[in-house]
Structures are given as C-alpha cells and as structure tokens.
C-alpha cells in the first residue's frame, strides 16, 4: 500500500510542472472571472463591490451589447464557412492527380505562419481608399471604389477577408490529409458501379471527411471568437462599432474604460457561447459525423 501511494505521488509530481501554471494562469482565472462578473471595480478602488447580476442585466438591456453580438456572429459565419468551403475546394483541386504541387501548397499555407499584426498592416495599405490595390482590382471589374476600413458597411468585410486569407491554406492542408486517407478501393468500387463524380463526392468523400470538417468548425469558431490582432491593427472596433466583436468590447471595457465587472460579464458570456457550441457540435458529431 505504501509503495502504491509512493508511485501515485511520483505520477502527480510529473504533472505538477504543467498543472501549476495551468491552475495559476488558466483555471484560477476562469473561476476568478465568474466572481468578478458579479462585482463592480475600476482597478483603483480598494474594495470590489458585489452587485449580483447587475452587470448582466445592464449588458442585456443595452444596444451596444447586441451590436457586438451581431458583429461576432457575422464575423464567425463570414470567416468559418469560407475557410472551410474554400479549404476543401482548394484541397480537391490540389488532390486531383497533379504533380509537383508542393510549391503551391507552401504558398497557400504561408499566410498562416506570419504574424497577424504585420500582415494586417500590409492589408491596411491594400485597403487604402485612394490608392489601394483593393479598389484598383474592383475597378478592373467596373466596380466603383469603396471606403473599406473607413466605411461602416465594408470594414467588417475587409477584416474578414484578411482572416480568411490567413487560414484558408491551413484548412486546405487539413483536408489534403483527410482526402489522402480515403480508402482507394471504396472510391474505385464506386466508379465501377458507375457513380458520377458529384455522387461520389456527396455519398463517399463528404461523409468520410466529416471528422475533419467538425474539428475545423470547432477550432475556427473558437479562433473567430478570439480574433483581436487584425481588428486592433485595422479598425480598433470602428468605424461606428461596425467591427467591435464581443471580445473587442471586452478588451475595451477592461483596459480602456476600466469597467472590470462589465468586462468580466462579457467574458463569461463568450465562454458560455464556446461551451454551448462545443457541446452542440459534440451532439451533432454523434449523429452526423462518420468515424471509421
């Protein structure tokens, strides 16, 4: 018995170097922020005032919050779907019996490696309304120039374009791996049975790569909820709050207006959304996703 306890002690010892920082910088803060969301504090006053659900009721009765929620939703859908669909399309194109596509794969993947701040700065220049490349390209198609980052109707689209550009090659590589792991004999059998390319894609490929699709949707959704760098560099939430996501609103109320309670309430809502979506996709995965 003593020997067994000793062994268990050794195992726990092995987990400590990771567990301690995990508790201090990760799980501790998680509990702390739930508490903070029931208080009012400005970083300065000596006492944190307990206010119950006031921060939540304040948020839920103010238009700013719903605006941020709407922007978050639009940003999420407008980045996750194109990255997944586009990544799959590129992977299908890449996978179709072509040789030496390595250079293309590397070029498409490279945006994912580079710092978001630096590339967002380059994109700000591309979106410059007077002399920017984006408006030049629109001109080639006879479309009149846009204000992009200065126009409340288009700023979010511009931020989405940068986000999609950054991750589309990454999602393509995921799908390339999934497509290469498809059982060749099954695809051949389907061809012999006379299945067309579209039917083969819908009936075999799509179900067999669904674990990848599920994984990407979860990871990309969490990433979209965390998007900060590109918004901070390109628009800082503006113009007129058109790119202020929940996360950006959280950052502003915490570190610009020093409203700790309200910021914490927003963070808790973001976490709840994450938990809800993860749970939902888990349930969905049992019904729709095919694990071989």
């Amino acid at each position: 018995m003593r020997l067994k306890t000793f062994r268990e002690g050794e195992a726990v010892l092995f987990t400590l170097p990771a567990l301690i920082p995990l508790l201090i910088f990760w799980l501790g803060p998680l509990g702390y922020i739930v508490y903070l969301s029931f208080t009012e504090w400005d970083f300065m006053s000596p006492e944190k005032l307990f206010v119950g659900l006031e921060n939540y009721t304040y948020l839920l009765t103010h238009a700013d919050f719903y605006q941020a929620l709407k922007v978050t939703l639009m940003f999420g859908l407008g980045t996750v779907i194109p990255i997944i669909v586009g990544g799959l399309a590129l992977a299908l194109l890449m996978n179709s019996k072509l040789r030496s596509t390595g250079i293309f794969r590397a070029m498409m993947f490279s945006p994912w490696v580079t710092p978001t701040v630096a590339v967002s700065i380059a994109w700000s220049w591309i979106f410059e309304p007077e002399v920017g490349l984006a408006n030049l390209a629109l001109g080639w198609f006879g479309i009149s120039p846009l204000g992009w980052l200065q126009d409340p109707n288009w700023a979010l689209v511009a931020v989405m374009i940068v986000t999609i550009w950054k991750s589309i090659g990454w999602s393509m590589v995921f799908y390339l791996v999934a497509l290469r792991n498809l059982p060749a004999d099954l695809m051949e059998a389907a061809s012999i049975d006379g299945a067309g390319a579209w039917n083969k894609f819908r009936g075999i490929t799509l179900p067999l790569i669904s674990p990848t699709t599920l994984f990407l949707s979860i990871i990309l959704t969490i990433q979209s909820l965390q998007a900060y760098d590109q918004i901070n560099v390109m628009t800082q939430g503006g113009p007129a709050g058109s790119t202020r996501t929940l996360l950006y609103m959280y950052y502003q109320s915490a570190f610009e207006t020093f409203n700790v309670g309200e910021a914490s309430a927003i963070a808790v809502i973001i976490i709840l959304i994450c938990v809800l979506l993860s749970g939902l996709s888990f349930l969905l995965s049992r019904r729709l996703v095919h694990y071989s």
Partner: protein
Amino acid sequence: MNITEARKVEKKRELGRGAGGETTGKFVPLGERLSRIARYILLAVISLALAFPFYWMVTSGLKTNDEIWQFPPTFWPESINWSNYSDAWNSAPFARYMFNSIFVAISICVLQVINASMMAYALTHMKFRLKGAFTGIILVGYMIPSTAVYLPSYMILNELHLLDSYAGLILSNCVSVFAIFLLRQAFLQVSHELVEAGQLDGASHFRILWTIMAPLIRSSFAVMILITFIDQYNNYFWPMLITKDPDLRLVSAGLRSFFVEGGAYGLAWPQIMAASAFTIAPLLILFLFAQKTIMQSVNISAGVNKS
C-alpha cells in the same frame, strides 16, 4: 516490442504522412491532359494571389513616398530604395524587439517541452487516481478561449509582481494545452511494454521518459517546438497587455507602435511596409526550411479530436 521495433513503427508513421497521391508515368488521354493543365493554371493563379500581399509588402517598402501614393500603383518600384529598410530598422529599436521575441519564444519552447512531455507521459504511461480528472481538465482547456481570461490573468500577474518582466512574459505562457495534447497523442502510439522493460532494468520514470521515450517521438517534438515558436514569436495581444516598458516589447507590439507613432498613420508608408517585411522575414525563412514539419502539425492536431 523492443526499441528498434518501436522505432520502425515511428518511422512508418512518418512515412505515412508524407507520401503524395500523384499518379506517375501512365498513358493520359488528351481531354484529361487539358483539364490537368487548366487545373494547374488555376492553382498557380490562386497561389500567386494568396502570396501576393507578401510581394506587395516587400516592393512597397522599396518605393519612394511619392511613388507609393501614385494611382494606379506601380507593380515594380521605379527606383529601388533599400534605404527605407535601414531607415525603418534604425528609427525604432527593432533589433531589441526581435531579440525579445526570439528569446521569449525559445524560453517558452524549452519549458513547454519539459512540462508538456512530463504531463503527457504521466497521462499515458503512469497510473494514478486523478488521471481521468486531469485529462478532463486539459480537454476543457482545449475548448475555452484563453483570451477570455486575460483580465483575471492580468490581475493575478500583477499580484505576483510579474507585470513588465521577462519572467512574466515567459511564465504566463509556459504551459500549452495544445502541446500536452500533441505529445499525449504521440505517447499513446508507443508501447507500454517499453516502460515496463525500463522499470525491470531499474530505470526511474524520469530516465525512461528522457532516454527511451523522448527519442522515439522526436518528430512530434519537432512539430511542437516549431508551432510553439511561431505562435510565441507572433504573439501580440497578451504580451502587449502585460508590458508597459518599451524595452520589453515583442516584435509585433513594436511594429504596431511604429505603425501608430513613427509611421504617423500613412505618412511614411514605405518605411512601415519595410518594417512589416523584416518582421515577417524570420518566419518565412523558417517556413522555407521547415515547411514539411510545420505542415505535419496538421496531421497531429487532426488526430487530437479522434481520441
């Protein structure tokens, strides 16, 4: 299974990742050949379009301020002004910023290799009662956005007097749920018999981990280290929050302040583009040399959701 056999399995895993799906040397009918050429051209166009912002960054950094404001823009600079690069480099302490980023990123890599492999080893090859709970904690960690807890983490870091210090930058990032997952995945593939054999020879778990197991999963280590390095070099939001001292800025925060102050919002765009270009250069060079390993991260992280 002995060690050499385990090495073979590991080797097989590596090979399984790389192999492509191209066909070679068969007779190809004309229609098929034409469609191949069309797809090839399409791929080339898309790749060039996706890489174009990098080209634009580098060449805009070579233009004069007059030229950069011309419309329509010139696709190749009229005169090459390398001086923009040296001006930008000298007008802010970019060498310092880059040193900070690389130093912090390497320190974090070292710490994560140690704590993630110990945790992953314990979760896969040691027995203890709380194992299920620990695995659960890490699973939850994978699903919850870390940015959401930046505010309380900031307050805790403040209590620990770690704001505005290298120690704070390094310690607050020294654990990664992703790294633990990745290594756990690798350890699961290694037979437990190796651990038992090691124990029979009287080796401690610590010894087994570092001398028997670690060499077997070195390709996973390589992936983990590269991804961590890239993430940390690129890190912006959190390091910016916890440092006020300009001497402690990482390269992204330094570049951003150069963009806002030095660049004065668009007055010195060539220098801003030059600065962006040399900020991303180390990463593009790293990617050039290690692209296979970096893209392998996808295989491994895709495996994360299967268990």
